[in-house]
Every structure is written in C-alpha cells, then in structure tokens.
Amino acid sequence: DVKVTQSSRYLVKRTGEKVFLECVQDMDHENMFWYRQDPGLGLRLIYFSYDVKMKEKGDIPEGYSVSREKKERFSLILESASTNQTSMYLCASSSPGQPNEKLFFGSGTQLSVL
C-alpha cells in the first residue's frame, strides 16, 4: 500500500517561530502537494512539486515556503508562524500520466500557533 507519512500528528508552536512540517512518501511518486484544511473552507492548496527541486505556488502560498531536495520528501516551512496559520496540514502525493490521477494523503498534522 502507498504510504504518505507526516512527521508529527500534533504540533504546538509560538508566534514568530520557524516551523518545519515534513512529509515522506514511499511510492516513488513524482508529484507532492501541501494542503491546509479548515472547517467550512475545505482543502486549499498551498504549494506543490512535480519534480525534485521544482515547486509551484498553489492558491494560498503567502507565509509558506517548501523544499524538495529528494524525490520522496517534501517539506513545508512557515518562516514566522502566525496564529492564522493554526490549521490541519495535509501532505499528498501522486503519479502523473494515469487515466485518473489519484492523490494519496497522509493523516495530517494539526498545528496550533499560540
């Protein structure tokens, strides 16, 4: 089975801290994504990457950056955490070129910024 692993299930940080959220997938997928999930807003795409060292902005990239140094690992970085970044963060991966591109999600990291 495909496995997308997010390093932390719960994370509590203080305003202004630099925060790293890590994600690893074991299926050799080319594409990786970071979403945030908020009640009433659904899932919103922050950044995605279709190759090592390649990244593209999603719909809400402000306040975030990403890093993809290895194919299996995709990191989300909050340079200076703010309270409005308190959210559930979901990492996903996929392989392009399929008839129906399927996203495989991790279980999420619930981040609280105090």
């Binding site: 080319e30 594409n31 009433g40 899932l43 795409l45 593209e56 979901l90 999600f105 991790g106 279980s107």
Partner: protein
C-alpha cells in the same frame, strides 16, 4: 474565490437512506471530477471519479451524476450504512501535463444513524 461550491455542509440520514451531496463549478476547463472520503483522524481517500464525457458513474453503492450543461455534479450513496459516516469532498481539476491541481469543495459531514 470558491471555484467549486458544495452543499449541504452537513447531512444526517437514517440507515438505508440515500444521501445526496451536490457540487457546482465555474471553470469549464475542469476535466476531472473526483470525490474524496475522509474519516476522523485520517487523510482523505479517493472514493470515485468521473470525466465530463459521461453523465453517470457507479461503483458499488456510490454513484456520481454529472450535468455538463449545468456545471453540476452530485454524489449519491445508495443503502447508506453507519460506516459511511464521514466527511465527503468533491473536487475538480485541470491536468496541466505536470500535475493535476485539485480544487476542493468545502466538504459535507455525513452522519448515518441506525
């Protein structure tokens, strides 16, 4: 900017009932419409998907109805069971050749009672 509108926000049905979740989109360039199912504490998982060249797709108890002219699609769950209680997200995407960027609806929390 909400490109995929989903309703209702929550839904309670009795076992055996047929919950219906509706979605509407604006961008006619969307070419893939999946539904994801999310259980508490888990990431979303692909449930069923459809492309705009067909009007209906059925997989087991789950059916997508698609109306291209109205730019609407819906999920029907036949003979619903308590185990179907979950949050359901519709989505739409455009394949850019490198990665499909999914735009999600806001989610519907379904509860199936005994």
């Amino acid at each position: 900017q909400q490109q995929v509108k989903q309703s209702p926000q929550s839904l309670i049905v009795q076992k055996g009932g047929i919950p219906i979740i509706n979605c509407a989109y604006e961008n006619t360039a969307f070419d893939y419409f999946p539904w994801y199912q999310q259980f508490p504490g888990k990431g979303p998982a692909l449930l069923i998907a459809i492309r705009p060249d067909v009007s209906e797709k059925k997989e087991g108890r789950f059916t997508i109805s698609f109306n291209k002219s109205a730019k609407q699609f819906s999920l029907h769950i036949m003979d619903s069971q308590p185990g179907d209680s979950a949050t359901y997200f519709c989505a739409a995407s455009i394949n850019t050749g490198t990665a499909s960027k999914l735009t999600f609806g806001t989610g519907t929390r379904l509860q199936v009672t005994l």
